[in-house]
């Protein structure tokens, strides 16, 4: 049995500090030591902050996260560091400062101990391309930690921190949550002020908490939203299953997610089949809008400075994106409206939608492709098919651990709720945790297993 304080949940850390059972200075020192000890093969941390974190702790007000270390993705301005978006510098001229996410964490008493790694420019679902190294899942360090918020997912999964902030413009909280076996919630679009967020211009991106389970996500999520996320009974809700999102899946992923839906049904949730219009264009509409809507916000001088330092793939794709015809963007937006109306109609009949977060387990860093019944495809392409709808529509979405493959790689179920019903996702995630006896949220990856005495 470990007695390391980072093996406590986020809420347990907060409660122990408030009760005087845990010294926040010792917790901070133990957190920095664990990052040093475990992150070498993960590359989950872009930079850690011993002195700045100590200063935040010394000034930490009473609040729900008083003295608790957390990490934030490399997309938010901190007073002592400009965000870099996983490369040498962000393209949007966002400098050091007090981002909204920083202010909310600080005002809740949290201590920002590190910035987490991310896929270069946020442009990938694997996390294997970054100026800070390829980010790995703690379940198998030869495999991808996910992207773009891979560092946040990996750091939480490996018990470096109990809570981290991610962002999700095209599934970027949910994919790494799935790959790293943790719970990741993308808020309803616009729920957190965009200031100091490098992609604050985006109509698709939203931040959110990445934690070990739903109760911790509720705590950190409430801090980010600036209001408590109330808990309600979930077992009389209606769950919609859209068959299109259950096609062409890895067999183990499909079986694990179907078992999870069955477990929810056994807990009292009514399961119904729903049909959504326009889903055949989700991948294109998501990718086109994601890749183009940042262009007007880039600073030409930053682009010139960053381009020589991008990966060959990042450099080539940034040029490829310029070749997209304008007609494609206009058409993507027409499809987006169709999808939003279709999802709005679906939510008149059901309270939630559910399908697998990703269609296959985390791929190898050396070859980030996934094997599906239709053949081998890049993980990015396959993942956006599952994740893009949440961003195109703006609805909240969560990834919840719900199984392990025979190779002990995480499987995750995605849930989506109507606009503004973020709490409902946490309620159902907790119901699923109970229905599975917390087997998957409490499962430890190899890197976090206690070492024999």
């Amino acid at each position: 049995m470990s007695d390391h304080p980072q093996d406590l949940s986020l809420r347990e850390q907060a409660a122990a500090i408030a009760d005087g059972e845990l010294d926040a200075t010792e917790l901070l020192e133990a957190t920095l030591a664990r990052i040093e000890e475990r992150d070498g093969s993960l590359h989950s941390i872009a930079e850690s902050f011993a002195s700045e974190a100590a200063r935040m702790l010394s000034e930490s007000p009473d609040g729900p996260l008083h003295g608790v270390p957390v990490a934030v993705k490399d997309m938010f301005a901190l007073p002592w560091r400009a965000p870099r978006d996983g490369c040498v510098k962000n393209l949007f001229g966002v400098g050091p400062g007090e981002s909204a996410v920083y202010r909310r964490l600080r005002d809740a008493g949290a201590v920002i101990v590190a910035v987490t790694n991310m896929h270069e420019l946020g442009a990938g679902s694997t996390g294997h391309i970054s100026a800070y190294g390829a980010c790995a899942t703690p379940w198998d360090t030869s495999r991808c930690g996910g992207g773009s918020s891979g560092g946040s997912g990996s750091a939480v999964g490996a018990r470096l921190v109990a809570g981290a902030v991610g962002t999700d413009g095209g599934g970027s909280i949910r994919y790494p949550a799935a790959y790293c076996g943790i719970t990741g919630l993308k808020f309803t679009w616009g729920s957190v002020p965009p200031d100091g967020y490098t992609h604050g211009f985006a109509s698709m991106g939203a931040p959110g908490p990445m934690c070990r389970d739903a109760a911790d996500a509720r705590l950190l999520g409430g801090v980010l939203l600036g209001r408590p996320l109330a808990s309600r009974r979930a077992n009389s809700l209606r769950l919609g299953v859209a068959p299109w999102f259950w096609e062409n899946l890895d067999p183990e992923v499909e079986a694990g997610c179907r078992t999870a839906v069955d477990a929810l049904a056994d807990s009292g949730i009514e399961v119904r089949e729903v049909t959504l219009d326009g889903v055949e264009h989700i991948v294109s509409a998501t990718v086109i809008r994601l890749t183009l809507e940042g262009l007007p916000s880039t600073k030409p001088e930053a682009v010139a400075e960053v381009m020589p330092h991008l990966s060959p793939v990042g450099r080539a794709l940034s040029k490829y994106n310029l070749l997209l015809p304008a007609a494609a963007l206009v058409r993507a937006d027409r499809v987006r409206g169709q999808l939003r109306r279709s999802v709005g109609r679906a939510f008149e009949d059901v309270d939630l939608l559910a399908w697998p977060t990703v269609p296959a387990p985390p791929p190898l860093i050396a070859e980030p492709q996934v094997d599906l019944p239709s053949g081998r495809v890049p993980a990015d392409y396959a993942n956006v098919r599952q994740g893009g709808l949440g961003n195109l529509t703006g609805v909240p979405a969560i990834s919840v651990p719900c199984g392990l493959t025979a190779e002990r790689l995480p499987i995750a179920l995605q849930l989506l709720a109507p606009w503004g019903e973020d709490e409902r996702l946490l309620d159902v995630a907790e119901l699923l945790e109970q229905a599975t006896d917390r087997r998957y949220v409490d499962a430890l990856p190899p890197i976090a297993q206690p070492t024999p005495a």
Binding site: L317, K319, L323, G394
Partner: protein
């Protein structure tokens, strides 16, 4: 966008018009991207969307208005 042998030439000419250099690594990456994402983009460009109403005043924080 063109495929096959024409692809490289279209890329070089189009980006060259804006003074953006393209090297062989760029082209190799772009060919893969085109192979993966090109068919879906072309399907979107060819789709009949004429019966789909545009959504004016998009606000992703809220449910859209449904057509009357």
């Amino acid at each position: 966008m063109e495929r096959g042998e024409q692809f490289d030439e279209v890329v070089r000419l189009t980006l060259g018009r804006y003074g953006i250099p393209v090297d062989d690594v760029d082209l190799a990456v772009m060919r893969v991207a085109e192979q993966v994402y090109g068919p879906g983009r072309d399907a979107l460009l060819a789709a009949d969307l004429s019966d789909i109403e545009p959504e004016h005043d998009l606000d992703p924080s809220r449910a859209p208005a449904q057509p009357l």
